[in-house]
Symmetry: C2
Subunit: 514 residues, 2 copies
């Protein structure tokens, strides 16, 4: 790789400009982080299990398939089980146990935790993160985008932000160093995908829903899906970025495929024709609309001769929603099969997500790795890709760069532990959903339930569906992982619930046997 | 002054929040920099000469009068003679000789200099400033707003930006650390003030003029003047800022009172009734509309109980336009009387501008200073007001804080020299307009004309109209100031024109006797 090249400034209209003028341009790669919302590991035609599942047969994502052919699939990429913790970990490099934005955020000073008769939930950072001091219930950080911007990247936000509550500094992507903000705000969901419905915004003078998508006024009243409108706006921003002479970072953060399951009519009928129910055809259309957006961006890079100097990272923020029958016709908790459960769960269905990276010249095409990684690892990795030298941050970074996994073919497994902490009550019911903490260590995964002190141990390599709890057969492993987990949570100053009856904190996993 | 106070977080809806929670808030002042475009020293009813002139009688600016009663008037505040150099000096603390954005910017890699048969103009920074490396014909800087933002200020841009050419990073206020941008872009003028004309934007699919105001789409087709629309948007941004719990910096940068002299019909008729011509009544209405905006912001501060913790700085970016008969009925070059000439001129009419500062508790009300200062001094002063500690910048700062002038009653004159360098040809004709450099030192001012090597020396205290050239009576002073000026320009690595006939650079002022 030649990091520098000399570009002559030819044919300038500037009177008197000498022809010898040259500008030294560092060719750092452009970066597109294509983040999908609530997309499950199986919500694609790309087989992350190795062979096509029934769900892979159901969905059509040709552009994800193309991306995988040109890059590397990550079959064991992890996020948090809900949105805000994942997105905060991405922006800060911190594990959720440390940043304490452990549940989803929306309104200022207000927790989204459901109520429990048994547990009192801790005072987590309900206002999210921000870059300034003295904001209550936030963690003050230096964000990924601020570092990218400081280092010379042109930074573009498009779509869902969800880093801070309404009326706090963190609600606005511009406060984190994004130079362009398309449609990002405090909301983590959306009222409507439909241009005909002004994306949920009211026009009668009454307040719009808190989650109505802002900033797409140009498309109000039109027959256009939010996914398409966002893509068109992103491409306008890329057309501008191309002129600025800087590398760009595009955070293409779709509201799709979050509920409501509106129908993307460009794709809906073919799923009906294939025999899916109306709800399921709608969901499949949401996915294919998202996939088209990926293709449109790839086409733009190709047409603008930037494909070879752009890294594309595809990711989802948590597992697919599987605990609400109102939006889907599949049996509850089967939407991410063979993974168990879905969004909100400590099981693989909640935290394992589809991930692909294309980076020409650095990542070998049509490859795959089964090594695991977690969302906070994106922070140091993206800074590595961008060659950012000044990485001084206010926060302690937990993430570890996965650059070796990008560049090496080795399938040597990583031995580090991954941790999750969710001392909250999300609300929906389902397997593995509730206040838990957990650790992945090699093939083992230990889940600890704060309320009951129950522990479960799974061998993920042999039991991807987490059906066989092996804790009683392996007390030594349970003890070792309980100690690892307890030690990590304490050093991260993690939160945990309190028993209402006694006023005592729930024990750490290493303070109780089973 | 007590810089800190404890604010209890009472009555939070957060379940389980302990009542003892308190947040330590640093009460740094809010700052409003109210910058008017092309406003002459006499374009107000406020008498900067000490007694009301004819022009002061003609115009009505009651809110400027109120601001002066509550603050301090600066009778000798200087800017550059055209817009971009002033605005770049404000954002960087650099003298224009050093930042080399010496004329106004608009199109990429393209100089706005007029042509001359005699002189070749130098390769100045036609693309303005930016915060990233490797952008041709720019100066890479750390901006005032970036430092304010980094220190915790919520930063709002409203109105004219004019820091960088189209399709360069500097065109966008977000690239300089502004978190909100209302209507700022590369343009330094405007196509139309009228909402009925969509502020100059075309809707027929053809390209809009380069200087059509962006970002005010909500007001298109309405009977509203741009000055009012910007003010309403600024107040919306302040309503939001109030909720964020940060001090704010509002750069209220009006496109007014730049040409075109559209009529602000809220005020127009009364000037017709007073006997002014249509053009002159239009101009007076532009001024009063701007003054109403100032009043609206002051009212907002009062209603929101922020008036006592907000510093307001009123400033203009250069002298009033006096060299175009198409827009005005006053005799050419008299529009800033008793000052000579106007915008674009090295004379006082081009560079001396109205300035007022209100800062309750720090600046004594109803006061005035005749000490001089120059636009680059705003940079360190605003950082002083904001108590910004981290001031590491990429550029060398020429400006000197005028905090002592704010806080002290002393009329002890400053003895430092002020410098200007304009190695360009603006285009319009008039007294003092052309490629010049100049120095103010005590009561003396020396102007040097690059093309002819002519030098003029004025005693500003006795001859504010710069009518009596005293250079031949005071050769020692001419020599001393020529040396000071030449020395400063060389150390600043300033630009100068070249003679086309010989290919030789014009001499510095200390390289020629007269």
């Amino acid at each position: 790789m030649n990091p520098k090249k000399l570009i002559p400034l030819a044919l300038l209209p500037f009177t008197g400009l000498s022809a010898q003028n040259e500008v030294n341009i560092i060719t750092r790669p452009n970066i597109i982080l294509f983040m999908v919302d609530d997309m499950g590991w199986q919500d694609t035609s790309l087989p992350f299990t190795g062979t096509k599942t029934q769900l892979n047969e159901r969905y059509h994502t040709p552009n994800m398939e193309k991306l995988a052919t040109e890059g590397k699939m990550f079959t064991q990429a992890y996020a948090s089980a809900v949105s805000s913790p994942t997105r905060v970990s991405l922006m800060t490099g911190m594990n959720a146990a440390r940043h304490r934005v452990t549940n989803w955020t929306l309104q200022k000073n207000s927790s989204t935790d459901s109520k429990s008769d048994v547990l009192q939930f801790p005072e987590w950072n309900v206002n999210g993160i921000c870059q300034v001091p003295d904001v209550p219930f936030t963690y003050e950080v230096t964000s990924l985008t601020q570092l990218l911007k400081n280092s010379g990247y042109h930074t573009i936000h498009c779509g869902k932000a969800h880093w801070g509550a309404i009326d706090t500094p963190g609600e606005n992507p511009h406060h984190f160093g994004f130079e362009v903000n398309i449609a990002g705000h405090a909301g983590g969901g959306l009222s409507s995908y439909l241009g005909e419905q002004n994306f949920g915004n009211r026009t009668d003078g009454k307040p719009s829903p808190l989650q109505a998508i802002p900033g797409l006024e140009d498309y109000w009243g039109e027959d256009i899906f939010a996914t398409e409108a966002l893509t068109q706006e992103a491409i306008k921003a890329l057309d501008k970025a191309k002129k600025l002479g800087q590398p760009f970072y595009l955070y293409m953060s779709h509201y799709a495929i979050h509920i409501p399951v509106d129908r993307d009519m460009r794709f809906y009928q073919k799923y009906i024709d294939a025999g899916l129910s109306e709800k399921e055809a709608g969901y499949a259309s949401l996915i294919e609309g998202m996939d088209k957006s990926l293709g449109d961006l790839m086409n733009w890079l190709h047409e603008n001769e930037m494909a070879n100097n752009t890294a594309i990272i595809f990711m989802s923020d948590n597992g697919g929603l599987s605990s609400e029958s109102g939006w889907r016709d599949l049996p509850l908790h089967t939407h991410n099969a063979p993974l168990n459960s879905g969004k909100g769960s400590a099981y693989e269905g909640g935290v394992r997500v589809p991930m692909i990276v294309k980076w020409p010249g650095r990542v070998k095409p049509d490859t795959k790795t089964d090594n695991y990684l977690i969302i906070e690892d994106f922070f140091p990795t993206i800074l590595d890709i961008a060659q950012v030298k000044d990485r001084a941050t206010k926060q302690l970074v937990d993430g570890v760069s996965f650059m070796p996994m990008l560049e090496n073919d080795s399938t040597e497994p990583t031995n580090r532990n991954l941790y999750w902490n969710f001392p909250n009550l999300w609300g929906n019911q389902g397997p593995g959903i509730g206040p838990t903490c957990s650790v992945r260590s090699g093939n083992w995964k230990l889940i600890y339930y704060y309320e009951t002190q129950k522990k479960e141990l799974f061998n993920i390599a042999h039991d991807i569906g987490e059906e066989k709890d092996l804790s009683h057969q392996n007390p030594d492993i349970v003890q070792k992982l309980s100690q690892d987990l307890g030690k990590f949570l304490r050093q991260a100053d993690a939160l945990r619930p309190t028993f209402k009856a006694t006023g005592k904190l729930c024990p750490w996993p290493d303070e109780t046997s089973f």
